[in-house]
Assembly symmetry: C2
Homo-oligomer: 234 residues x 2
Amino acid sequence: MKKIDVCLSPELIKLYDLKNKVVVIVDVLRASSTMVTALANGITHIRPYSNIDACEEMRNSGYLIAGERGGDIIKGFDLGNSPLKFLQEKYFGEKLAMTTTNGTLAIKLSKGASKIIIGGMINLEAVANFINNQNKDVIIFCAGWKGKVNLEDTLFAGALVDRVSENFELECDASMVARAVYSEAKNDIIGYLKNSSHVNRLAKLGIIKDIEFCLTPDQFDIVPELDGDNIMVR
Amino acid sequence: MKKIDVCLSPELIKLYDLKNKVVVIVDVLRASSTMVTALANGITHIRPYSNIDACEEMRNSGYLIAGERGGDIIKGFDLGNSPLKFLQEKYFGEKLAMTTTNGTLAIKLSKGASKIIIGGMINLEAVANFINNQNKDVIIFCAGWKGKVNLEDTLFAGALVDRVSENFELECDASMVARAVYSEAKNDIIGYLKNSSHVNRLAKLGIIKDIEFCLTPDQFDIVPELDGDNIMVR
């Protein structure tokens, strides 16, 4: 039987063997939710950057540039990290360069995997279908917050483990930890997460609508995948 | 209000500021359970070692020597890592040098804290009382398994957070994650943990009685504390 495992922080990913595995990167608030929404609304592909300057230079190659630090839009950038800005195909046909606090780092650390895909609550079912159809073991890689474990990414990991549990064996304890969080939260995900530290941080920035959007499951039936330097839908 | 936080792995402890805090080290299976049982049954103090040779040398200073690697007793040592061996004051008045896989490392990484104490399910209430009576913030430090998050230490962290929640503010998401695990497990802790990877490992070694013992709450009303190089009850 295929195996599924959960890595709860970028600081722990070195303990996992990614070779020949599908890695599902999740940064629910908000990088992975923004990527999914952008690609579902006509962005052709996304280039992720950890470095602000490298990201900004992509403007010269005709890219929209997007990025946040500490939840705020970077000065001079076209967009921050709000998925809502990409709705209604507002940027249809554009290409996007994007830098974020935690999500981009997770992508960088996942090199070596067989496939790297992007998951969030908003494309949960699509990701579940994708990994069910692959003949490979899976690592769900939570981007976390500055290296620490966070609640929303752990919740997503638990939700995904729960959805695919008939087809996968749980590899180690972190999967059970994540599933316990999902089990406790599932009847009122937004209410449950209102106590999390990152939701509190974001709520202070006045982006409650972003949070509600990012936590609402199964809005988009697409799975973004890393292809060379680009994230795109195949 | 005092704050409480949970560190789910030794790989993450560098992200926490331990200064002026009480650190509760937990390695439920079995280092912290063995330490509590030994000290509750007449061992005068314990010296923890990460290195096998350094631990073995303490025999020349009149210490009993105890240690395991991968769950097995180290060749030539007096004792392994089974708490049951210390019951009925079998080694009353002896001093103990001890080396373990994960627990000793956690102690080493906690230097810098105001106080370092040892917790397990078997002295849960004693630890809860201890931290309630200290005027300091608390970090519960899970020893984990080779750097990875494990279920039994996370469960203890959740149980302790739950017991002291009226007196502490939860500092970050890991506390909520741990509490969710405890909440799901609390009505049948042993049944819940029988699916965990480490319990499976140990069960193969035939030490089910150890596991049941280590998971039974509130057996000993003592709190081991690091005092210089020694772990002892003040």
